[in-house]
């Protein structure tokens, strides 16, 4: 494992920790108003305060959980769907492959954001898990496409043929012979999906289609934007949440590079 991958894992571990303990270590109630209106970062408010005197540091800490939960739930759901569709298509071939590939390509080409905005704003109650499920429905297609290609290259290999010749059932061949060889691809697909889901959730919160009753980094940005934080010069209102998003995204991308380099040795660093 190289330095980049370790750095990525480290940052991810940090945010996971915050997601668990954020609510307990937050110095203030993130929604509680106070008399320190729109004050810049200081000793008592590390990230400053909002227009109504809410502590932004506490909002970021408490909001981490919502972000991580959606990322994890989407990652799991969408990865499951992509394995189901991609591996089945690649392994079976023929008409089933045509149909399933068509399905995933349709999902890839249709612009997800406007569609999800419509769905999310039509839902009567847009709670975190429901939103995660909706995002997963649009997030699986990329992984499915890559898994299909990989599976196709595997299915005529000798060890698969041997399993087939010895009379193994199809699902057994898929689960015990093919899937273990796809782990790197599945892993990188999972990480990619988490990035996508986190970005989408934050975006939806920022646009204001998800309920604003629970905190996440996007909600902070929504309030900053709707209160004209930019015009007021309150940079501390929108900088911390954005940096957190970028850090988390970078961490996940670094982990993904690590997986790519593991799977494709040509990408590894040349030693001078």
């Amino acid at each position: 494992m190289n330095f980049k991958t370790k750095l990525g894992l480290g940052i991810l571990a940090f945010f996971t920790l915050i997601a668990v303990i954020g609510e307990w270590i937050a110095p203030y109630d993130p929604s509680a108003m106070s008399d320190d209106l729109l004050s810049p970062p200081s000793g008592s408010h590390w990230f400053g305060t909002t227009m109504t005197g809410q502590d932004i540091f506490s909002q970021v800490l408490v909001g981490t959980r919502g972000v991580m939960v959606v990322g994890l739930v989407c990652g799991v759901l969408a990865t499951f769907l992509s394995i189901l569709v991609g591996v089945t298509a690649g392994f079976l071939g023929g008409a089933a492959d045509e149909a399933l590939s068509m399905l995933s390509n349709v999902f890839l080409v249709i612009p997800a954001l406007p569609l999800i905005i419509i769905v999310a704003s039509m839902l009567p109650s847009a709670d975190t898990v429901l939103i995660a499920a909706v995002i997963s429905l649009t997030a699986w297609a990329w992984g499915a496409r890559i898994l299909r290609a990989q599976t196709m290259s595997l299915r005529r290999r000798d060890f698969v043929e041997a399993a087939r010749a010895s009379g193994e059932r199809t699902w057994r061949i898929i689960v015990f012979e093919v899937l273990p060889n796809l782990l790197a691809v599945i892993g990188s697909g999972f990480v990619g999906t988490v990035i996508f889901a986190v970005m989408l959730q934050i975006t939806l919160s920022f646009v204001g289609v998800i309920s604003l009753s629970t905190w996440n980094w996007g909600t902070i940005l929504f309030w900053a934007q709707s209160n004209q934080a930019l015009g007021l010069g309150a940079w501390w209102w929108f900088v911390p949440a954005g940096l957190c998003i970028a850090l988390l995204g970078t961490a996940l991308a670094l982990i993904n590079f690590g997986i790519d380099e593991y799977a494709n040795p040509r990408l590894r660093k040349v030693r001078a």
Partner: protein, 326 residues
């Protein structure tokens, strides 16, 4: 030719799927927001407008779902997307027609710039692997991990609030009339700088990375080795041998990531109040304006499909193997 025909067929299926999803959504999801809007607007809707909203949103319970579907297609073919609530009483189609050119201009130009710039940088980064260019990767990864809209916010705060170099919102200076004059065009360009740069900066990283990795893979191929052995110039090997083959996945990826990029670009429009489809969508969200939101979705999908077809033609020109198949 078979290649293009197959692709065109696929895009038709996709378009059908998008339209059908658009038809089903308001009928499947609970709640009747459109009915509520119609009640609110009450007498201000004339009977024609009322009828078309009934067709689009399935409020007429006396008809079977199949009849509704046929009527829905009929409306679409007449270009009737209902009335916008936000811009009442303007029809959705008119609102879209007005904002469409802005989005096409901004997103089209910036996407092409980002693609060309990213691919070129990727070619160099992959070719000169192990040099300082490798440091480009973490930096661009960080930039691409930043949500488009947040980068837009930062750009506004730096370049129009702190140092007022560029305007923060709108598509042209207020008071100007859209016309074909130097003053107007200048103002349009000036307003496009910040949103444009934002889109390029956040989307360029993906192209750099993809192209670099493909270059690294291709550089190890035998034909590159042969080209070197023949003593061809570095430049010729790099572009005519390695890059020409390495760019193919980028082009097929271009088509597939377009939907994603357009989504990001719509957000940039929202942040900059740029008069395109994204800003219209944003206003639609605020007003729970479903006819408008669904119209935006359809138009964007259509645009993405057309762009995909263009990318396919590009692929056809670059890869002779696809031409031979037919």
């Amino acid at each position: 030719m078979t290649f293009l025909l197959r692709r065109a067929l696929f895009y038709l299926v996709t378009l059908w799927a998008a339209i059908t999803v658009n038809f089903l959504l308001p009928r499947l999801l609970p709640g009747d927001p459109v009915q509520a809007m119609i009640t609110k607007l009450g007498g201000r809707l004339n009977s024609d407008a009322m009828a078309s909203l009934y067709v689009l949103f399935g409020l007429d319970d006396n008809k079977s779902i199949w009849e509704q579907y046929v009527d829905y297609w009929g409306s679409l073919f007449r270009g009737d997307l209902g009335l916008s609530f936000t811009f009442f009483p303007t029809p959705v189609a008119d609102v879209l027609a007005q904002s469409m050119p802005w989005t096409l201009g901004l997103v089209g130009v910036t996407t092409v710039i980002a693609f060309l710039l990213g691919t070129l940088l990727g070619v160099y980064a992959g070719w000169k692997r192990g040099s300082w260019m490798d440091n480009l990767i973490p930096v661009t990864t960080f930039l691409s991990s930043i949500p488009y809209f947040w980068l837009g916010l930062i750009a506004i705060s730096l370049f129009s609030v702190t140092w007022p170099l560029f305007p923060a919102s709108g598509g042209y200076a207020p008071g100007l009339v859209p016309e074909f004059s130097g003053e107007f065009i200048g103002s349009v360009l000036e307003h496009a700088v910040l949103p444009g740069v934002t889109i390029v900066v956040s989307s360029v990283a993906g192209w750099i990375l993809g192209m670099r990795n493909m270059m690294v893979t291709v550089t190890a191929e035998d034909y590159v080795l042969v080209a070197r052995a023949k003593g061809l110039t570095q430049k010729r090997i790099m572009f005519a041998y390695a890059a020409r083959n390495a760019v193919l996945p980028s082009i097929s990826g271009f088509a597939l990531s377009l939907g994603f990029i357009v989504g990001g670009a719509l957000l940039v429009e929202m942040v900059f109040s740029y008069p395109g489809l994204g800003y219209v969508l944003f206003q639609g969200i605020g007003g729970k304006d479903y006819p408008l939101m669904q119209g935006v979705f359809l138009v964007i999908t259509l645009a993405v499909l057309v762009a995909n077809l263009l990318a396919d033609i590009g692929y056809l020109l670059l890869d002779p193997r696809t031409r031979k198949e037919g």
